[in-house]
Structure formats: C-alpha cells, structure tokens
C-alpha cells in the first residue's frame, strides 16, 4: 500500500527508525525532518531496536555536529538533519567523525549557500562543500529514493565505518509530495543487523576499556595515519551496492551506484545527480522513442567516487558526454562532478579501456531554478554540435559571459493519461492545505499515483501560493512545475490578472474561479488581456463565490474546503459521490482532532459548495477595454522599472544575467513601488476625534500611518477629500496637522485601532482611527497621498524626539515590509529608522528580520529626501554580532582618519571651522544638524584644494557625522546560535547598539524553541512544554559593567521604549535593547498584540528595566525598574496564548505544575530586580574602560 509523503518525511521516517540520538537545529528546508523526529519522539514512537530515540535541539548546527560526534563516540547510533550554512557549520566535526571512522548519517535537504545573497532554495552547493571531509555522499533523486537511500546510507555506514551524507534536492524532493512504497520495520532490520550495531557500540569510549582518541600527532606519523583509512574507502562502493541489492531483493526497487538509461548504443550522454536525473531520464526516453541515440547516467554514490562503475555504465558507443552540476565553483576549471567524470574517463582512456569521448560541463538548477525536458533536450542537442561549448549554463539567459544554451520551454513529454492541475491562492485561504489533502485522497486510491509541489512567495502577509498537482495511473517522476494544466484553480479573483495563471493552462483547460461577481457579470469584470487569453485557449470557465460559502459555514476566509469540493466535482478524477465521501472522510481525519465543531463547519462547506458552482458560457469576442494596472509607477527609478518590476510580476526567470548587480548590492526603498493591497479593510483617520497623540503611527508595523504638520497656506490646491486638523500643540499657531494612511500598503492588522486612546463620546467602539473597506476609498486616498507627500517634511530639529507624540513626525526609513500583518518586531525597527536612520548602518542576523528586511523583489529599508538612510546588510545567522562589530571597527578607523586629515588640513580649511567640527557634540538632533551644515561648508572649501590628504579626507568625510551601528536579530540568534559572539561583542566595550527582537521562539523557521522560550510554553522541540526557564540575557549583560541594557515592550510603555532606544544609541559603548515582540507563533489574534504586551509586563513576565553605566559613573543607581510590581497573575497573561493554553489542554497537571514554577520564577526575578533598583551606585561594578 502506497503512502503519500514528501521527501523530508520519507527520509526522516528511516533515519528515525535507525537512530538512538538525533541532535538537531532548525534550518530550511531540512527543518521538517527534525520536527518530525521530535514529534515522533514526544509521541513515544520507537525505532527498530525498540527504543524511543532521544531528540535534542542544539544552539547551532556546529553544536548539533559536536553532539552528534559525542553521541557516536559514546556508542549510540546518531543522526542529524541539515542544509546549506548548517552543513557548513558542521564541517569541522565532519572531518573528526570521518577521521575516526565513525558510522553516522547526516541527512541533507540540499540547498544553496549564501553568497551574493541568501537563498533557501535547492542546489548542491552545500553538499559539494563537504565532499572533501571524508564523508561518503549518497544522492537521492526522488521522494521514493530519499526513503530507500536513507536506509542504504544507514546500512552502509555501519558496514563500512565510513560516515555518510545522504542528500536530496531541497525545495523539490524535500517538499514534493509523492506516492511511495514505504519500507517496513522488517526491511530496516534486515539491512541493519544488530551485530553491526553492537560492533559500533563496542568502539565507544568506556572507562572499562580505556583508550585515547583524538591525539595530537607530529610530522613523523600524521601523514601515514591519514593514509591508513584508504582500504575502508576502497571497499565502500561495493558495500553500498551490496546494500542496494539487498534492498532490491526485498522491495523490487533496484538502484546502482551509477545507473544508465537510454539507447544501448548511445552517442550522446548526460551525467547528472539528484532530481534532475528524473527529468533527464524521462526526456531521454522520449527522445530515444523518436530515434535519437541518447542516454543518461544518474550518479547516486558521489563519494567515494565510483569511477570504474561510471566508466562501465557508459556505452562504448558514446562520443560525447555533458556533465551537469547543480553548483557553482567560481574560478575552477569546472564544477566538481564534471571534473570527477573527466578524470575517470581520462584515466580509463589512458589505461586503454575505452576511446576518450568529448566531455563538457554545465551548470543548471541553482536555487531551485527549473530544470525541464526542454533543457535536457537542449544540452543533448549541444552535444550533437561539432564544437559544443566546453562550459555552459542551462535554464538562464547569460548575456554577459555567453554561457547559456537556448532551449525550447514548451517541450511537453508528459504522458496524456496524467491529470495536471495548478491552483493559485493565498496562504491564508488554505489552498495548499486542501491540495495536500487532495493528493493524499488520490494517492490512497488503488491504482492511482499522485504528486504535489507547492510554490510560496517570500512575503509573510498576503502571500500567494501556487500548487502544482499531477495524478495518473503510473508513478509520477516529473520534478518540475506543471506547464500545461488541464485544470486551473484561481482561488482569488485578483490573481487572475497575473500572466502566469492562464499561461499554465493547456488549450481547452478548465478554469475554476472564485469570485464575488455573479456568474452573469463575471465576464464584464475581467480585463482585456484576461478575456483574450481565455478565448485564445478556449477555456471552460466555472465560478463560485467561495468566500461567501465559507463565511456562511463559519469558516471566514478559509475557502479551501469549498474549492476542493468544486475541483473534484468538475475535474472528474473521481466519481462525484465517491469524491464527496472521500473529502468528508478526509476532513474527519484531518480535522477530527480539532473537535466536532471544526469538522461540522467543514462538512457544511462541502454540502453547500456544489449548489453555488456555476458554469459560465464565454462570448465569442473580447469586450473589455480595461487594461491591468502597471506593475510599478512610471516615476519609479529605472532599475525598479526594468528589473524589480519583472520579479514582482513573477517574471524574474526572464531576466538576463546582465540585468542583475554583480555583487549583491541593490537600491534601497523599493517596497514603496509595490502597492500590494493585501487587506480589504484598512485604517482610516477620524480627524475630529483625533487628539494627535501619535500612538497609532508609533505602533504601526508597516509604517502606513504618517503625520505631518504644516502651515495653513500649504492647503492650497488640496484635493477635495483631503483631511486636516488644527495642530494640537502649544507655540505653533496657524499650523495644520494631517495623519495620512497609506491604504494600499495597510495590512488591516488593527494594532493602530487598539492603540488609539480615544473613543467617540456616544460610541465606544469608534476610535479616532478605524478599519473601513479599502475599495471605495482607493481613488480619493491615492490623490490625498500624492498631496500629502508634496507637503514639506517636518523639520527634524524642531521635533521633540523625547516623546511618542513628537516621534510621529519623524519620517520612517523602514516602510511597507512584507512582515506578518500586525508584526511585533517591525515597530521597533521603524522607530530606530526614524530616530537614527540617516546615519545608521545595520548588521542584521538571518531570521524574520532579514527576510522581511532583505528578501527580493522589494525591500523596506529606505532613504530620506536627501538620499540618506540606513545601509543594511545580512551576513549570516551565527555571526551577526561580530559582523556588526566589524562595521564599528571600520567606522572608528575611518573616523580617526577623517579627523587626522582634517587636523592636518587645519591651516588650509580654516581653523575655526575645523575646530568646530572636531569638537562638536553630536548627541542631539540639533547638534547633528549643525554638524551637517559644517560638513557641507567643509566640502565647499575642499573643492578648492587638491592634495592626497584632501582626496583622503573626501573619501571618509561622512564619518565626521557620528555613525550609529545597529546589530539586529531575533532571540534564536541572540540567545542561541549567536550567543557566543554576542557575549564577546558586548564585552568588547565598543560603541555598538544591539537590538534583540525577542519573540521567545524561532519565528522564521516556524516556531522552534529557543533559550528565550518561557518555562511552560509549548513550541516545536518542546511539544510537552519547556521545562527550563528563560535565560536572563539582561542580567548577563549587566554583569559586564560597561553595557547599557534595557528591556522594553512597546505595547506596555511606548515612552520607555523610546527613551531606552535613545539612551542606548547615545551611550558610548555597547548597548543591548531586548524588545518584547508579539508573534503569530504565540497563538492569538495579532490585533491583541499590544494588549498582550501590556499583560506580559503587568504580570511580571517581562519587567521593563534600564541599566545605564553613565548613571553609575555619576554616582547614581544605574539600574531602573520601569514597570510596576506584578498586578495580574502570570496565568492571566498566559491563558490568552495558544503556546501556553495548549499544554493546559493536553496535560493539565503538567501545565499547572509549570505555571506554578513559572510564577515563582517571576516573583524571584522581581525580588532580585527590586533589590537592585534600591542599591547604591557602588553596589554595581564600575566601567573600567579608560578615557571615560
């Protein structure tokens, strides 16, 4: 009986059953393997040896590798799961594990490495970077193979003592759902005899038989010892083949170290590894059927490289070979697989075994770039040329180096008996979840095979999804997106404008469209190009108002069940009655554990779906004149129009190499050109009620609420609907105030409404800012925004930075990010950008903030009218504090150079000006402004001079303005993977500002426990509730004596947040601000985020503190406790959040126990803080840095 799983689950299922210890750390796209292992362990599932494996989350992949090493040396069967930079962090231990001939398997969902940019998508860059460690490398090409070869790896490592990396393609195989034949526990046991396990155990370190392992060796013996392992590697290929053969005997699925398929007398052959081999094999079969003498060699064992097997696999008739590598090695003669194949053939030729074919090497598929039959055919065609290109790329347009081959994107080799379907939806509407269910329903049908792959976008709010599904009577091996779909589901009316939707439709395809337009009006609502495409492809159109049906069934916004029912009804993949029955059974199975109510509502949605489904007959001709809106406005910069807009339109694949920057450098402020209109409800200002406090704009996570004040005269020419009120501030008569909402960027999160302190006198539900329908306001507000932007920006020097009210007039230089609607992190970043943005550089750790901060196509960090704004960079996850410190060190050196040159040029530039610049205080905005004016004057005077010193000074002149270095990251970085670096940087005494956006969980990778996760909270890797209290990062930093430390929560005390950030920035030394950030991973409606922040503080969970070493220096107590004594119980705060509540539901006694302990922790910590707040200055350590 087949099961439908993805590659991660397929691999993890075997890894878990073969292991006793799993040491893990979350990283995309491998995280699901670790999560499954943890879940199974917490459920008490046993491995094939009868034990429940121990799963431990480490602080980093380096930690996971070390724990793996230790567990192996302790005699356990151990494994880990990782990808990309995670695998790189394991390299030092991989040398050790291999050097000591230790049986182990690391399962890798192979992924790109961060180079010019991070990418979470798939290629072989990571696994190729460990080919030299001594690990064997085994490559699976499909979901079934990731299951089978996982077992081969575990079996072979115990037999050979050579450790294995078992890998498959990340964001293809890892996330592709496919029907596989699962291995039974007996299969697993058969390949892993217990005797081998005992031998492994016998090699463990034990005081009963003490040995010394891990010596230091000298020139006399190191070399010889290194060569001593050779026989183990020599034996490995044969042993792997033996394990594969044993598997074949039990399952009938036969694998070779290298497998050839194609014409027995092929002349042209591809060599490839990973899922691309599936595409190549199918294409070769197609071409062979057309009489071409072509073939493909699929490499499964890459290390130790099976040279002899490879040469044997190639027919003697082969004249030319193209080796495809899914990685890039700049500067090398060629990529690794190519070089290995070339060397193997060349040696075979030299030995007289065969004629030497021509061998060429090419790159394909980097970062999950599609690899399709057309591309395979193009490479084989290249081999047919008299002088094929020695090196090439396929799948892109390389107009810079001319490496790319042309290919036919339309080549379709898929069998006609397979149904192909694509679905376009939003993440929030549940489309993907429903399609996964559909795959499982059909995969479970006898004689049917199903495949599903899902494409997500990188925005966290309003994100779009595309589901690619195939079903058919034969196993499906097409690891690329559906190009010619017979069924297209468009689950959001607005998405139909995207060219891709109908581009993927085959002629005569069926389109299921969800729309609120009645069937007889739908046609008129379509734009001209859409109508044109529908007619050109003779599309059969069905419509339903799925939103209405879902809402009526008690599932607002969740159209998945309704549309899934329609799909089955229209597509006919199953009989209608049978399909309904299967859907209902699937709902009961999937949602059953969520209770009767959820099942009832979904069943109701199924029952009412079909009656609301309508077929729409299309007219003969296009009638619409409406054109879709331009992707970006005409006034956008050229790069945005030419490059960014293509990515935004989903056409980034068409961009040639020349269009892209060579070094990963992109213009800032591009989100301003992307009007996403993700929410139907948006914030609307009520000028009459507003008291102009600034709270709403302060908390707005998306910077869509802006305030300006201006003279009455500026209202001339204002659009009719432009709203303005008298400025409510003393000393500024005849001044107007406008609060403008950028409604096309608003996500409708409602935090502003919650933050608004006023209500209408007779209607407490009406605030001075409210949510209203966007559509009717669009035209009016577009005109208002244009007028608003033309108003003069407030003079920063006249704004009181010290108050929330004043801060609203500071222009945000972080805007319209793709963060979750209602994000708890972004308001802090926005505030930093408002306060210090024009002189700030930011080092951003990998995580949520690097994704919403730096994921293409558009990025939110922007610049002011003078072109100044935060310069932002993401180095890695683990190194961010050190990276930021480096920026500081450079700034210090360049400031020093600037001051030295300035002093040298004193006589030429005017002593008064030079002295003023050198001695200028730069703490307040007015002082900074004065300094900018002096520097402008300095630049003017420098124009008249010319000397090496002058040129030098010009190159660093910007450093005469005090530079603000910010180090930003989440708690996963600060508490775990970056903890060592952060500790060191805080202890450096250097002037850096660290902002920890503390969500108390790994948010970006989906809610895994960090050391910031509270005692008693449920998270991934702490499914039974965390039993360790949170690390007190603030107290650790205070212990260093020279660090400014604050713990803030904007929702509880915005003023304290503002004060703390300003003090931190002004402090000449390291500063640490730990900011409570509510998060979707906490489990409640995000509109209540601020209220929950308030409760976190009121319960004592998150006491607000500031520790300022400057106060200590001035003989005052440096420790301020800014929040009052806990006045609600911890339970009152926690019961609103699913992360706490779910434990109370699943294990009430344990939840009560942990809550009680957590309450005690709160009280004890409060007592400590209270005692500290009453000490005298001398009870704290003094800052010992010199010159202070």
């Amino acid at each position: 009986m087949g099961v439908t799983v993805d590659g991660n689950e397929a691999a993890a299922s075997v890894a878990y059953r073969c292991s006793e210890v799993c040491a893990i750390f979350p990283i995309t796209p491998a995280s699901p393997m670790a999560e499954l292992a943890d879940q199974w362990s917490s459920e008490g599932r046993r491995n094939v040896f009868g034990a429940v494996p121990g799963v431990i989350e480490m602080q980093s992949e380096a930690g996971a590798a070390a724990a793996l090493h230790g567990a192996l040396q302790g005699g356990s069967l151990a494994t880990t799961f990782t990808a990309s930079q995670g695998l790189l962090l394991m390299i030092p231990n991989m040398y050790k594990i291999a050097g000591e001939l230790t049986a182990a398997v690391i399962h890798v969902a192979a992924r790109s490495l961060a180079a010019q940019a991070l990418s979470i998508f798939g290629d072989h860059s990571d696994v190729m970077a460990v080919r030299q460690t001594g690990f064997a490398l085994l490559a699976a090409a499909s979901v079934q193979e990731s299951h089978d070869l996982a077992l081969v790896a575990h079996a072979a490592t115990l037999r050979t003592r050579v450790p294995f990396v078992h890998f498959f393609d990340g964001f293809r195989t890892s996330h592709e759902l496919n029907t596989i034949e699962p291995l039974t526990d007996e299969d697993v046991r058969a390949l892993i005899p217990e005797e081998l396990v005992r031998q492994h155990r016998a090699r463990a370190l034990t005081p009963e038989r003490p040995v010394i392992r891990g010596t230091a060796q000298n020139p006399d013996v190191y070399f010889q010892a290194r060569e001593s392992v050779n026989p183990f590697y020599t034996r490995t290929p044969a042993i792997v083949q033996e394990a594969m053969d044993q598997l074949a005997e039990r399952t009938g699925r036969r694998y070779g170290l290298v497998d050839y398929s194609g014409h027995p007398e092929a002349e042209r052959v591809l060599v490839v590894m990973g899922s691309g081999g599936e595409t190549a094999r199918e294409t070769v079969a197609y071409l062979q059927a057309q009489g071409e003498r072509v073939g493909v060699v699929q490499v499964r064992l890459y290390r130790p490289f099976p040279a002899a097997d490879l040469c044997r696999a190639l027919p003697a008739s082969v004249r030319s070979v193209a080796v495809l590598d899914r990685t890039k090695e700049p500067g090398s003669l060629g990529e690794p697989l190519f070089l290995d194949v070339l060397a193997a053939l060349s040696e075979s030729h030299a030995d007289g075994e065969r004629a030497m074919p021509r061998v060429i090497g090419g790159r394909y598929g980097l970062s999950s770039k599609e690899f399709t039959p057309g591309m395979v055919a193009a490479v084989l065609a290249e081999l047919d040329r008299e002088q094929p290109r020695r090196r090439f790329t396929i799948g892109i347009d390389d107009d810079v180096s001319g490496t790319s081959l042309r290919y036919d994107a339309s080549l379709d080799i898929e069998p006609p008996d397979a149904v192909r379907a694509v679905f376009f939806g939003l993440g929030a509407d549940g489309t993907v979840g429903a399609n996964k269910n559909t795959i499982k329903i059909l995969g479970d049908e006898k004689g049917l095979h199903a495949q599903g792959y899902f494409v997500y976008d990188s925005k966290k709010s309003g994100s779009e999804t595309v589901s690619h599904l195939r079903f058919g009577p034969r196993p499906i091996s097409a690891p690329y997106l559906v190009g010619q779909a017979s069924f297209v589901g468009c689950h959001q009316f607005g998405l139909l404008e995207r060219a891709e939707v109908l581009a993927r439709a085959a002629p005569g395809a069926t389109l299921l469209l969800s729309t609120h337009h009645p069937p007889d009006r739908v046609w008129d609502a379509l734009s001209r190009p859409v109508q044109e495409r529908l007619l050109a492809k003779r599309v059969e159109l069905h419509v339903i108002d799925a939103n209405r049906i879902a809402r009526e069934a008690g599932l607002p916004g969740r159209t998945n069940t309704v549309l899934q029912t329609c799909f089955f009804a229209i597509s006919g993949v199953l009989e209608r009655e049978q399909a309904i029955e299967r859907i209902k059974a699937s709902i009961a199975k999937t949602y059953g554990r969520r209770g009767a109510e959820v099942v009832k509502r979904n069943h109701a949605a199924v029952d009412s779906a079909l009656a609301a489904l309508h077929r729409v007959a299309l007219p003969e001709k296009v009638t619409a004149t409406r054109e879709p809106a331009a992707v970006v406005p005409d006034f956008a910069p050229e790069f945005v129009r030419e490059v960014t807009a293509m990515m935004m339109a989903g056409r980034g694949d068409e961009l040639p190499v020349s269009a892209l920057p060579v070094d990963g450098t992109y213009p800032s402020g591009t989100t301003a050109y992307e009007k996403r209109n993700v929410s139907d409800l948006v914030a609307v200002w009520d000028a009459e009620l507003c008291i102009q406090c600034g709270n709403c704009s302060f908390v707005c996570p998306h910077s869509v609420i802006r305030s300006r004040y201006y003279e009455q005269s500026h209202l001339q020419g204002a659009p009719a609907g432009f709203r303005s009120a008298e400025l409510n501030a003393p000393g500024l008569p005849d001044t107007r105030y406008t609060l403008q909402v950028y409604l096309e960027d608003c996500t409708g999160c409602e935090l502003c409404v919650q933050a608004c302190p006023v209500s209408a006198p007779t209607d407490p539900t009406r605030k001075a800012i409210n949510l209203e329908a966007r559509e009717p306001l669009l035209a009016r507000e577009r005109a208002n925004i244009a007028f608003f932007e033309a108003l003069p920006a407030g003079d920063r020097a006249r704004v009181d930075f010290g108050t929330v009210r004043g801060a609203q007039f500071l222009e945000p230089l972080f805007e319209f990010s793709g963060a979750c609607a209602g994000c708890g992190e972004t308001p802090y970043l926005k505030l930093v950008s408002q306060l210090f943005g024009d002189r700030t550089v930011i080092a951003n750790a990998t995580g949520c903030s690097s994704i919403y901060g730096g994921n293409l196509p558009t990025t939110p960090w922007t610049h002011d009218a003078d072109g100044r704004g935060p310069a932002w960079s993401n180095s890695l996850f683990e190194d961010n504090a050190e990276f930021g410190l480096g920026l500081r060190l450079a700034a210090d050196r360049q400031t020093e150079l600037a001051r030295r040159r300035l002093a040298e040029l004193r006589d030429f530039l005017g002593s008064e000006l030079v002295d003023e610049i050198l001695n200028a205080p730069q703490l307040h905005e007015s002082e900074l402004r004065a300094q900018r004016q002096r520097i402008a004057e300095l630049e003017r005077r420098l124009e008249a001079l010319d000397s090496p010193a002058v040129v030098d000074l010009r190159s660093v002149i910007d450093h005469l303005i005090r530079r603000s270095v910010w180090i930003v990251g989440g708690d996963g970085w600060a508490y775990d993977i970056g903890s060592g670096g952060l500790d060191h940087v805080l202890a450096s005494g250097r002037d850096v500002n660290v902002l920890v956006l503390d969500t108390e969980v790994y948010s970006n990778t989906g809610g895994q426990m960090s050391k910031a996760t509270p005692l008693g909270a449920v998270a991934k890797f702490a499914a039974a509730g965390k039993t360790m209290p949170t690390k007190d990062l603030a107290l650790q930093a205070i212990a260093l004596a020279s660090v400014y430390v604050a713990r803030v929560a904007m929702g509880a005390d915005p003023q304290q947040t503002l004060t703390a950030l300003r003090e931190a920035e002004a402090y000449d030394g390291p500063s640490l601000v730990i900011a409570y950030s509510h998060c979707i991973a906490h489990g409640y409606e995000m509109r209540d985020g601020l209220d929950q922040q308030y409760r976190a503080v009121a319960s004592g969970h998150w006491p607000l503190i500031r520790y300022n070493p400057m106060a200590r220096a001035a003989n005052r107590n440096p420790f301020l406790l800014d929040s009052s004594r806990p006045r609600i119980s911890l339970g009152d705060y926690r019961q609103r959040e699913l992360r706490f509540r779910s434990l109370a539901a699943s294990d009430p006694a344990e939840a009560e126990r942990l809550l009680e302990l957590a309450q005690q922790t709160v009280q004890q910590r409060w007592q400590t803080y209270e005692e500290m707040a009453t000490r005298s200055a001398h009870d704290f350590l003094a800052d010992a840095r010199r010159d202070r």
């Binding site: 995309t28 796209p29 995280s31 879940q39 917490s42 979470i120 996330h175 939003l426 993440g427 929030a428 549940g430 489309t431 993907v432 979840g433 996964k436 899902f454 997500y456 990188s458 925005k459 966290k460 994100s463 999804t465 008690g554 916004g557 969740r558 949602y591 554990r593 969520r594 209770g595 009767a596 109510e597 959820v598 006198p761 007779t762 209607d763 407490p764 994704i851 948010s1003 970006n1004 990778t1005 989906g1006 809610g1007 449920v1018 998270a1019 991934k1020 702490a1022 499914a1023 979707i1080 991973a1081 489990g1083 409640y1084 699913l1138 992360r1139 509540r1141 779910s1142 109370a1144 539901a1145 699943s1146 009430p1148 006694a1149």
Partner: protein, 336 residues
C-alpha cells in the same frame, strides 16, 4: 456536635458546600477548601459552548499563518491545536477527587444534547461524586414560551439521568412563573437535588463610556431571602435534596438556611471575599449557635421553620406576606 448531612444520598461531614468559584479552578484551591472544612465542593462549570468556540478559534489561529511561507509551513507542534475537549476539566475532577476526602461535585453547562450526556458521563468516569446541571439559559428570543423553557430543563435532566448513575442536581434560576411547580416537575423527573438559586450575571451600562460592562457582583446576605423562602416551601414537598445558595455570608445565614429546610448550604461570595479559611469560621459559628441553642445534630434543626406540610401554602404565604408588609411599614412610618 454532629454536623453530618446527607445530600443527594452523599454522606457529608457537614452541610457547608463550596459552590462554583475561581477557588475550585485548581486542585490546590479544592484542597484549601477541603482543609478549611467544607462538606463538599462543587467545581466551576464546564461550558460546552466555550469548549467548541475555543476549538474553532484554535484551529483558526493555527491554520491562518500555515502553508503560506516556505520556511515555516506551520508555527506550532502538531499536537498544539488538538481539541482536548473537556480533558482539562476531567483532569481537575480526577486529581481533586484523589486529593481530598470530601465529595467533589462537577458542574455542567451544555449546549447540545450530546454535550450534556457525553460530558456528564465523562465527569462521572473521572470521579465526580455527583453532577450539578447549571442550566444557565437566558431565553433572549422573546417568542419562546415559558412552558418551552421549563420543558428544556426537564429534557436535559432526563437525558443526563439516563446517562449517569451518580446523583444529579439541577441549579435553578428564580425566574419561573411558578417555581414550586417546576421544582415538583424536576423532582418527578428524577432530580436528586435542587439548588436554589442560580444568579444571572447581567451586564451593566456605563453612562460615561456608553459601553456595556460585564460585571460580577458578589452576593450579599439580603440575596439569601429568596432562596430561603422557596426552600421553606419546598421542604418536605419534594424528594430531592435542597441546596440553598446565594447570600450566605456568615454563620447566621447558614443557620437560617438550615432552619428553612436546606439540606446543604452553599457559599461562594463569602469564601471569595474572605478566602477559603472562612469556611471554618462559618462552621465554628454554626456549632457555637447549635451549642447555645441546645442542638446536638444538624438534622434536628433542619426545616424547623419550613412551611408545615399538609397546610394551605397559599394562606401561609399570604398571611406571612401581609404581616411582613405591615411590620415593614410600621418600622418605616410608624403604626397606621
């Protein structure tokens, strides 16, 4: 001094019962009540509707951000949104029953027929000594007849009685046209106990903010008059045990209820105001009063001031009413 009492067939060490309140939300709270001496504890109510709504909300919270962003296809462990149903409540019954010697009575507020019966059965299986049906039903639909409302109470009771073997009490609201008749009907339908009366928590309005306020007003001794009046009338006329609740602030209130004919006396507000240890103050006061008045057993004083059975109740009530009115007027205006 013998304070032992039989309530719905349960043997209680005394007639003081802690009725549902935040004090009985945890095992520790129940233990503190038992340590203070109460004869039994009624746990806070399990609300079926609340459980259903919570499950639907949790599903929404888990689903909405899922399958949207490639790095995080979910944000919670697989089990996090599992609908545990009444597990938390049942665990409280189990642990409380195992911790204290006194009977632990569960309280149930259902919304569906299956809800009433399934949860009641689960409560019994978890170790509840009895079940109190908290039929907190406010007919907001102005077309629902009084008879329908009454029938609903009868139906629920009968359904639950069929599902469980432990005693079942019905907690009644005072807002029936004929309290006596509904009490008798419930008695006939098999109620093992009648708890008089439920208090409706009614929203108030705030004239400053124009908002509706959900308020919890603790009861005061004056609130005890109504249940005592009806207990005095029902004593001896129904087979079901009678529990007086509301307005039991001090030992005198306990005595009054017993004299009126209550089998047990329930207290919430006083225990909330003064803490669980206030139970011992009430019991000591009861014992002191009994000693002073020469009673050695609680049974001896129970129902001494109830309406005598067999007489003409309406005459009794009428004469009491007239004389009470006259006395009240006399104190206010002097004799007329």
């Amino acid at each position: 001094m013998d304070l032992s009492t039989t309530y719905m067939g349960l043997q209680l060490r005394n007639p003081l019962v802690a009725s549902p309140s935040p004090l009985s939300h945890t095992v520790d709270g129940v233990r503190r009540l038992a340590d203070a001496g109460v004869g039994a504890v009624v746990l806070h109510s399990l609300f079926e509707e609340e459980l259903r709504e919570q499950a639907a909300l949790d599903a929404r919270i888990v689903d909405r951000p899922a399958e949207s962003f490639p790095e995080a296809l979910s944000y919670f462990p697989e089990q996090a949104d599992e609908d545990a149903g009444p597990r938390r409540y049942l665990s409280l019954i189990e642990r409380a029953a195992a911790t204290v010697e006194i009977p632990v009575i569960a309280s149930l507020n259902g919304t569906t027929p299956e809800g009433w019966t399934d949860y009641a059965r689960a409560m019994q299986d978890a170790g509840a000594a009895a079940i109190e049906l908290n039929i907190y039903y406010v007919p907001g639909d102005t077309r629902v007849s009084g008879r329908d409302v009454e029938q609903r109470h009868i139906d629920v009771l009968q359904r639950v009685k069929q599902a469980v073997s432990v005693p079942v009490a019905v907690k009644l609201a005072p807002y029936f046209s004929s309290i006596g008749e509904i009490a008798l009907r419930l008695d006939q339908a098999g109620a093992d106990g009648l708890v008089l009366f439920n208090r409706f928590l009614q929203p108030d309005v705030d004239p400053e903010t124009f908002a509706l306020l959900s308020t919890v007003v603790l009861s005061t001794p004056g609130d005890g008059l109504l249940p005592r009046t009806w207990i005095a009338l029902l004593h001896g006329r129904v087979g079901a045990s009678l529990a007086a609740t509301t307005g039991v602030e001090d030992a005198t209130d306990v005595v009054k209820c017993l004299l009126a004919g209550a089998d047990v006396v329930m207290s919430t507000s006083a225990l909330l105001r003064h803490g669980p240890q206030h139970a011992s103050v009430l019991l000591d006061g009861l014992a002191t009063w009994m000693r002073r008045k020469g009673f050695s057993s609680a049974d001896d004083l129970r129902g001494l001031l109830a309406v005598p059975p067999g007489g003409d109740e309406s005459t009794h009530e009428r004469s009491l009413y007239v004389s009470a009115l006259r006395a009240a007027n006399a104190s206010a205006y002097g004799h007329w």
